[in-house]
């Protein structure tokens, strides 16, 4: 509880400043969220969902917050060169938690698609934002969400109207920039109306060699017959701590996929909560983690089957090297009326060194009888006979080991539907395993 005190004090002191530099719709839920945070505080290790991550410790250091919204003079296009070749995306930059002013068009008006700053949208499109903002992210049960809701001042807003299909994927590059240790509270709201179709690619990068602490809450509403593919790729550095809570709610007949790829980080905690609230929807949750040094990755997912006839597939793969720690907890909840649910959850881990640690916890909680649910989980080492086989054929032991690791995570990468992104990811992962990829080219530390 003590770790939360500095944030409680900070909020009390700067409540006015926070509100002044944000939108009224966001301010409307702020006090309630703060009240919840004050009541529940940071979760201890005894809280089941945060069993593997010491939240209090991560939030304990003193970080700066850009509450008065001082502009950081930088042109991300100049420093950032990490684009995906051949993938013509609509590229947007997020500077810490703010929508970068130099972004191309902030509103794509032709089909009524809106991609803009959340703060601006909250004023300009208050009817839409008001209908969805903070309606899915539950401040009463998760203190990270409560803290984010209390402090978030800006973020990203995406709105895809009825039956509009975005031809090009929307790429959002989150850039962390600061001269001093910095805490960033980013907020994302995505609304897909009936029959809409969109692909999102979020890339996380850190430009400066300082400590960053990010909290992020993403709310995604997918209406009936809509289709959403969401990719998240984290390539920051070892001084970055990320707490990202993703909430998705679907209607009926939806197809939703989420791919979460962590290649470089310090400490990452991803919470993914999906509610399947309509019949015949299909959900795919994939994740891939490559961790070494002292990286720490904790993925916690919940798939809530509320309506009958839905399908969910979950696949998370970890390669944990050196003294890294990988944790995975996936809970599949099948509610009483969700008959004919089909759900499959798989988590596989490669533990490369003796110092590496893996925690895994696949859970099934089932209250309906006519379902087919299964989960599988493995922790192991590389197959000796496969290594031997390759060496017999003249492949060096090191190369063989590399190939096997690559094939291991390949199963997740293969499921990426965007071909250029898939190719790019394959190259990135290969470079990552070869130790060539230390940072993305634009980052300040590895220049």
């Amino acid at each position: 509880m003590n770790g939360g005190k500095q944030y409680i004090d900070l909020y009390r002191e700067s409540r006015e400043i926070i509100m002044q530099h944000s939108a009224s719709l966001m301010n409307a839920v702020r006090d309630e969220a703060f009240g919840c945070f004050e009541r529940i505080g940071f979760p201890s290790r005894k809280v089941e969902r945060y069993k593997y991550t010491d939240v209090e410790k991560a939030f304990a250091p003193d970080y700066g917050l850009n509450l008065t919204r001082i502009d950081i003079p930088v042109n991300p296009q100049d420093v950032f060169k990490c684009d995906v070749p051949n993938l013509s995306t609509q590229l947007f930059f997020m500077e810490n938690d703010a929508f970068y002013k130099g972004n191309q068009r902030s509103v794509l008006s032709e089909d009524g698609v809106i991609i803009t700053s959340l703060k601006k949208a909250a004023d300009k499109y208050s009817d839409i934002v008001g209908k969805y903002y903070s309606k899915l992210a539950d401040v009463t049960s998760d203190s990270i969400t409560a803290l984010n809701t209390a402090f978030a001042q800006d973020g990203l807003f995406v709105y895809v109207p009825r039956n509009v299909q975005l031809k090009r994927p929307v790429q959002i590059v989150n850039i962390l920039r600061s001269g001093v240790d910095m805490m960033v509270n980013r907020r994302v709201l995505i609304v897909l109306e009936e029959g809409a179709d969109a692909t999102f690619l979020f890339c996380d990068h850190a430009m400066d060699n300082v400590h960053f602490l990010t909290t992020q809450v993403i709310e995604v509403f997918v209406a009936d017959n809509a289709h959403a593919d969401i990719y998240e790729l984290e390539e920051t550095h070892t001084k970055c701590k990320r707490f990202s809570n993703l909430y998705i709610k679907t209607g009926g007949y939806c197809t939703v996929s989420h791919n979460n790829i962590t290649l470089f980080n310090g400490l990452t905690r991803n919470t993914t909560d999906v509610i399947l609230d309509g019949e015949y929807s299909e959900l795919t949750l994939n994740g891939c983690v490559v961790a070494d040094k002292k990286q720490y990755v904790d993925n916690n997912t919940l798939i809530d089957h509320r309506k009958p006839n839905c399908t969910s597939n979950e696949l998370y793969k970890y390669v944990v090297d050196e003294s890294a720690v990988g944790a995975f907890a996936g809970r599949i909840l099948v509610q009483k009326d969700a008959q004919h649910t089909v759900s499959q959850e798989t988590n596989a881990n490669l533990c490369v060194t003796k110092e590496a640690r893996v925690y895994t916890q696949p859970m099934l909680e089932i209250y309906a009888d006519d379902v087919k649910c299964a989960h599988g989980s493995t922790i192991g080492l590389l197959d000796e006979s496969a290594l031997f086989y390759m060496q017999q054929r003249g492949i060096s032991a090191e190369e063989a080991r590399m190939l096997l690791k690559f094939a291991f995570v390949g199963q997740v990468i293969e499921q990426v539907k965007l071909e250029p992104l898939r190719d790019r990811l394959q190259r990135l992962v290969e470079k990552r395993f070869r130790g060539e990829l230390n940072k993305c080219i634009g980052c300040a530390i590895c220049k």
Partner: protein
């Protein structure tokens, strides 16, 4: 419709055939729990000072603890002051100091199918029969003594072999282990003590039969099994209780120590009164069972068939310290009506090349909730550790729940840990196939469930396997339709 309802009711009423009470004079101490009560229990059993001290320490620790709430269970409030902690049915009304067992007691155990007269015993199974807080009789003691095997009630062991008991009591489950372990360590009454000396193969199955009879009492049994180097023993445990409207508490501890090259097989058929069809009454079965595989090449196998109890909170575990040691856990848990079970195991790998297997089958029917909760932990020095876990759940009926909560913590790169779980209902095709061949749906369910649980039931000793199969069918009667 009304016809089938009547059938269900009939089955429900018949189902628990061990629900009778024995009208026998029982000496029960006053309700409540405090240091004086613990002193009374200790003095009634004529215990040495060190054991009283152990109990008091446990009690003081218990006072500082809170009842755990992490289980997937809706636990009724337990009023620890409304329970009597000692009930002795062997105490005759004043001044009859004879050693004879009350014929009423003999009859009770006969009715339960546990003959206490050795000549009546069908198979070579030695029994320690415990009713409420006291061991009534242990059979075949003399024959076992020929091989220097000690098999007696723990109270007797405290008197006769204090140094053995003192060396091992609390060494596997210390009183600080958990809330209910602390409670048990403070007030434990009877249970069995087994010591198998070096290089001895126990010639018969050893078994304990637990029976709760007295009203408003709890049973706090304590079992300690020590299997010395190169020895083998197979141990069975059975239990029943009368049908009562209020919940009765059963908080037991079982400790097993396995030395070099020794092997212990521990089988349980748990059939405490599960409460009636509306979820009223039943036994709260809150048990800590753990084995310590201390020696190299040691082996321990837990097999459990859980059909009874209103609430089951039980995780028979293994600590694999000895190199090359092997542990197994086979479980079938059946819940019906309003029963709740949160059961599973912990496999803690410490030694090198240790292996463990977990096979768990959950069957839920009615409005019951059935959870598997297990931990596989591989320590940093447990090179070459191997674990395979498989948990399957079968759902019968749309109002019940089946849950799986496995935890895997691996701190060693040479370990291989695998876990798989499935949840499904009985296949329509299988039922249809049986129906086609003239087998009623009810019978078909029984057959399919028995087939489903076969992996586990096959691990039970013969006599138990037959009983377990019958139990499975009976527990599930009335679930179809």
């Amino acid at each position: 419709m009304s016809e089938s309802n009547e059938f269900v009711r009939k089955v429900a009423e018949e189902k628990y055939k061990f629900g009778f009470t024995t009208d026998i004079h029982t000496e029960i101490i006053d309700k409540g729990l405090n240091e004086d009560v613990i002193r009374t229990i200790s003095s009634k059993k004529g215990e040495p000072e060190w054991l009283l001290e152990f109990r008091l320490e446990a009690y003081r620790y218990w006072l500082t603890q809170k009842q755990p709430e992490w289980g997937h269970l809706k636990m009724p409030d337990i009023d620890y002051q409304a329970i009597s902690y000692y009930a002795d049915p062997t105490k005759k009304k004043k001044d009859s100091g004879s050693k004879e067992i009350d014929p009423e007691l003999m009859k009770t155990f006969d009715k339960l199918g546990i003959p206490l007269e050795e000549r009546l015993a069908l198979s070579g199974t030695a029994v320690d029969a415990v009713m409420d807080s006291v061991s009534v009789k242990t059979t075949f003691k003399e024959r076992l003594a020929e091989k220097n095997i000690i098999f007696c009630s723990i109270s007797e062991a405290v008197r006769e072999y204090p140094e053995l008991v003192r060396a091992y009591l609390g060494s596997v489950v210390p009183y600080r282990d958990n809330y209910f372990a602390a409670l048990n360590s403070a007030v434990f009454s009877d249970g069995s003590f087994v010591y198998i000396p070096k290089n001895t193969r126990c010639p018969m199955e050893l078994s304990t039969y637990f029976r709760i009879n007295a009203r408003n009492t709890g049973q706090f049994e304590r079992t300690l099994i020590v299997c010395d180097e190169g020895s083998y023993v197979s141990y069975l445990e059975g239990c029943t209780a009368p049908m009562r409207d209020e919940n009765q508490l059963h908080a037991a501890i079982v400790e097993i120590v396995v030395m070099d090259n020794a092997e212990v097989k521990y089988s349980t058929v748990q059939n405490w009164y599960p409460g009636d069809a509306d979820g009223k009454g039943g036994v709260l079965n809150l048990v800590t069972k753990r084995g310590h595989l201390r020696g190299v090449n040691s082996k321990l196998s837990w097999t459990q068939v859980e059909t009874g109890s209103a609430i089951t909170w039980k995780y028979p575990s293994c600590i694999l310290t000895g190199d090359n040691s092997q542990a197994e856990f086979y479980s079938v848990a059946v819940t019906n009506n309003y029963q709740q079970a949160d059961t599973g195991t912990k496999m803690i790998h410490i030694g090198k090349n240790t292996r463990s297997t977990i096979i768990s089958k959950g069957i839920s029917a009615g409005r019951s909730q059935n959870s598997y909760r297990g931990l596989v932990k591989v320590g940093a020095n447990a090179d070459g550790a191997r674990n395979y876990s498989s948990c399957d759940s079968l759902l019968l009926g749309s109002l019940c729940g089946a849950h799986t909560f496995p935890y895997m913590d691996v701190h060693n790169n040479t370990a291989t840990v695998e876990h798989e779980a499935t949840t499904s209902k009985i296949s329509e095709e299988q039922l249809f196939y049986c129906n086609q061949r003239g087998i009623s749906t009810e019978e078909a369910v029984g057959l399919i469930v028995n087939g489903y649980a076969k992996d586990v039931i096959n691990k039970l000793p013969m006599e138990f396997a037959v009983e377990a199969q019958k139990l499975l069918s009976v527990s599930l009667e009335g679930t179809v339709g």
